[in-house]
Amino acid sequence: MVLGSGPIRIGQGIEFDYSCVHGVWALQELGYRAVIVNNNPETVSTDFDTGDGLYFEPLTLDDVLDIVAHENPIGVVVQFGGQTAINLAQGLADAGVPVLGTSPEAIARAEDRDLFDRMLVELGIPKPAGRAVRSFAEAETVTQEIGYPVLVRPSYVLGGRAMEIVYDHDRLEEFYSEAEDANPGQPVLVDKYLLGQEAEVDVISDGETTLIPGIMEHIERAGVHSGDSMAVYPPVSLSGAVQAEIVEASCRIARALGVKGLMNIQFVVVDERPYVLEVNPRASRTVPYLSKITDVPMVQLAVGAMMGRSLADAGYESGLWGGGALGKPGTIAIEPGSGPVSLQAPRFYAVKAPVFSFQKLTKVEPSLGPEMKSTGEILGIDRAYETALYKALVASGISFKPSGFVVLTVNDRDKHAAVSIAKELVAKGYLIASTRGTHDTLEAAHIRSTRVLKIEEGSPNLLDLIIAGEVALMINTPGEELREEVEAARIRRVCIEMEIACVTSIDTAAALAHALDVFEHPEKATCLPYHEYLR
């Protein structure tokens, strides 16, 4: 019996239905009768001919137990239906129902912060300092030990809900109580916030052999929710040593937990060291992407592992898969000394980009942060990184209007990066407009920019420029000062209303600058059936 993922919501989208459907098909291929439980009428999983039986029922423990009593399945698959299904694992086990794949005990060990931390310490795998706390006083103690900035978030919730980066003591209490309210009765996690390069992997394991189909490198730095980050496969900047360490750590975590099936691990890389941010002992939202672009039938292998077939028998070894973009089917060894380029010379790049629905949600602040806001995702795939980026940006709705200014208003931390982005834009003939702080920085770097007033400085100001239709693209990164943020949020919101692309992360802007050439010459991008890129 395969449990579905319920209604589509931010953080749990169509990707999980994809895994459920493939899970059912894989079970059928192995000769099992596979039934599905789900209550979402929009999906393929609830098509009456997808499984051998469809129970259109709510995914609560009571309802699922009733169906189990009726069907008496040999086991229940909870790995594919997102947090909805995995949350039922313990209850099913308590009722004596066999949970297939990774055991409920191992799931709890991955999801319970204290247990998980202890395991990582035993394995000697680094993670950001911090721990689970149950009171504000305790949160203060932890913060004193590890120092600001810290990441405050509730445990056991989806999509980074009520997750915040806290820079000083003044706001710790506010965000602590928000995190506490988001999941009452559960601890709040307080961790050192590390600003670094994020990367993630999805692994398939049978408890012995662990296959990593590919490493995805996030384009936005840590602090942007993984679901809202652009990500590229294969990595473009991670060194061989870092990739080797990610692969090594992933294999050891899978073995220590006794994973049978799929698991997702997120890392942040600081000073050439990958730290484990989070582990999800289930299929993640990146499984369909990686399955398609690495040509590894991930769900099928995971189902095999759950049903007792070894990956070794299927011809796989532990380690990083060399097929897909890397062009060498089979597990490959990574030379620790190698840089990303010598590691790959890949056949293609695949860039995943988020898509938002801010147009429909009035009064929602569109800047990116630790809380997930996107409703969907798309993929840009091409032979070169620039053209893949271009496709991802275009497909996610980011475009330049044919004329007007590119407006840059960035916070102090991003000013340095803004200079190089502005240089590329100016070199391509774009006109730059910026507000005071950014303008001064650009001027000091001898980059021509037109200064525009902030709203509070009088008029005509930036808002007037936007409304007059003279803005082609907005690059506006959120700062920390509340007063400035109120204005910035208003500017971003107006861009959404006026359908002007608004980039709120400096890393996305850098990616955009990187793809500028293709925006001018779209014919540089190829257009092929996706499996031909893999050839």
């Binding site: 989208g13 459907v21 393929v44 009733d66 359908e499 059936p529």
Partner: protein, 560 residues
């Protein structure tokens, strides 16, 4: 003809969710069954339709004219099926046709002709057609410039509704109570519309909203798949409304009047495939207005497919390549044809899932612009039981009709909450009934039909008795018959325990009550969704649970 190009709907956005993967996957399968080679373009790889097993050749490329033209140039398809990729697919197909790309490569548009699509989507053409066939449409104004908008500010009856043409899920629409709001919302709508076109329409706030899913083939055979009624009266986007299928509050005369109108409209337009007709019905009389027509597969048709078992996208795809309803097999029964209208012997309730748990500062009010990201559906033998199932399937904090926010709200606040559509209005309505305001008063405030309110009253009544029995610790009415009644109406054991207040109560009363809940707990039987209410033999393993005696699932398993 050999190759057919299918355009997908791209990423999941509010207004376009997984339903188009469901539709596209069915369509690809249906076309391949008919012997065609299917080429597919979609930018969203997290879909079954972009699997290499679903289509013959799959392009994961941006959905714009540039890339579509390159795919066409490379694949040289003979036909293009435009009506299965939502508004995105339809808009792209229209752009390709109007830009001459289809003519250049000799690609034929399949299914509903483009002229019919334009006639359905262009308000003025649509109204002209409705006047010709004498179907009533609410008085309205088509506006294509700020000047035109300014000219009508004083003639329009307020409140009025603003609907931009050619956008997703009603983006940019709204309700204007006064000329200032009309001016602002109207300007925004002009900008968002692909055609720079908006419609200002007399408001029918408070009327019943009813939809008919209808199907027509190239020979003119027409059937109704099912009808659906919105719990929320007119004024709330149907994607944001609680929906029930089949309609529950229409009289037989009304049902057939609206069915006849829908079939007349699909014939007049010359649709070939599935189509959705939205109508407004006067709750106090027999008059109605035609609101709009979706000449394509939609979220509503996905819901109707799941609610009836009738695969609308599959049949639409077959119709597009020339098959007729009397030829296409009904896969569910295996014995009947696709021209049989489905019959329902159960009640279906859909509740949308909104993202406000993630965006606590967002504006929660609901109107003509859709805000939900997804939805749940529940099937049972009564509206009450289906509603309770849908509520607990939402995976929000509320597992039944109690909501602390409304329980603690003062009367004035609650009246406003009942009157104003939001994602939480169901719980406000229940609280009003809980306070004994009565069906009349809650209907006056919310305009929700009294039939729905009576059903919710029924549920709240059981709830009140459970709470009372918990307080009296078994001294009042007979606990075991009350628990049995609660089960039958759709309260799961967890809710009964919670309402009796015995969840973590190990006193003698708590133990007795919990033991009684376990003893009374009826195991559900599982009934089949067979498209024909048991009239014909059917072997489809599509089930819903209910508390009855005859178990279709068991019988099917024995038979096979």
């Amino acid at each position: 003809m050999e190759t057919i190009l299918v355009i997908g709907s791209g990423p999941i956005v509010i207004g376009q969710a997984a339903e188009f993967d469901y539709a596209g996957t069915q369509a690809c399968k249906a076309l391949r069954e008919e012997g065609y080679r299917v080429a597919l373009i979609n930018s969203n790889p997290a879909t079954i339709m972009t699997d290499r097993e679903t289509a013959d050749v799959v392009y994961i490329e941006p959905l714009n004219v540039d890339f579509c033209e390159r795919v066409i140039a490379r694949e040289r398809p003979d036909g293009l099926l435009p009506t299965l990729g939502g508004q995105t697919g339809l808009n792209l197909a229209t752009q390709l046709a109007n830009g001459g790309v289809l003519d250049k490569y000799g690609v034929r548009l399949l299914g509903t002709p483009l002229s019919a699509i334009q006639q359905a989507e262009d308000r003025e053409q649509f109204r002209r057609l409705m006047r010709e066939i004498k179907e009533p449409v609410p008085e309205s104004w088509i506006i294509e410039s700020p000047d035109q908008l300014e000219a009508i500010l004083d003639t329009v009856p307020y409140p009025c509704i603003i609907r931009p043409a050619y956008t997703l899920g009603g983006t940019g629409g709204g309700i204007a109570e006064d000329r200032e709001t009309l001016w602002e919302t109207g300007l925004k709508g002009l900008q968002l519309s692909m055609r720079s076109q908006i419609m200002i329409e007399r408001s029918l706030l408070g009327w019943k909203e009813v939809e008919y899913e209808v199907m027509r083939d190239s020979k003119g055979n027409c059937i109704t798949i099912c009808n659906m009624e919105n719990f929320d009266p007119m004024g709330v986007h149907t994607g944001d409304s609680i929906v029930v299928a089949p309609s529950q509050t229409l009289s037989d005369i009304e049902y057939h009047m609206l069915r006849t109108a829908s079939l007349k409209i699909i014939r007049a337009l010359g649709i070939e495939g599935g189509c959705n007709v939205q109508l407004a019905v006067n709750p106090n009389g027999f008059d109605y207005y035609v609101i709009e027509v979706n000449p394509r597969v939609s979220r509503s048709s996905a819901l109707a497919s799941k609610a009836t078992g009738y695969p609308i996208a599959r049949v639409s795809a077959k119709i597009a390549v020339g098959r007729t309803l009397d030829e296409i097999e009904n896969q569910v029964t295996g014995t009947t044809k696709a021209c049989f209208e489905p019959a329902l012997d159960y009640c279906v309730v859909k509740i949308p899932r909104w993202p406000f748990d993630k965006f606590p500062n967002a504006d929660r009010s609901l109107f003509t612009q859709m805000k939900a990201t997804g939805e749940v559906m529940a099937i049972d033998r009564s509206f009450e039981a289906a509603l309770m199932k849908a509520v607990r399937g939402l995976e929000i904090r509320q597992k039944d009709l109690k909501h602390p926010k409304y329980e603690s709200m003062d009367d004035d606040g609650l009246r406003r909450a009942i009157a104003k559509p939001t994602d939480e209005r169901l719980w406000a309505v229940a609280e009003g009934l809980r306070r004994g305001w009565g069906v009349e008063e809650v209907n006056r405030l919310s305009k929700v039909d009294k039939w729905f309110l009576q059903k919710i009253s029924h549920l709240v009544g059981i709830e009140r008795r459970l709470v009372e029995a918990g307080k009296l610790r078994g001294e009042g009415e007979d606990l075991s018959s009350l628990i049995a009644e609660a089960f039958l109406i759709g309260y799961p054991s967890a809710s009964i325990r919670r309402l009796l207040g015995v969840e973590s109560d190990d006193s003698p009363f708590g133990q007795v009550a919990k033991a009684e809940i376990e003893r009374q707990k009826i195991m559900p039987v599982f009934k089949m969704v067979d498209t024909c209410a048991g009239e014909f033999e059917s072997q489809t393993p599509y089930f819903y649970g209910t508390f009855e005696t005859e178990d279709d699932a068991l019988e099917l398993r024995k038979a096979t």
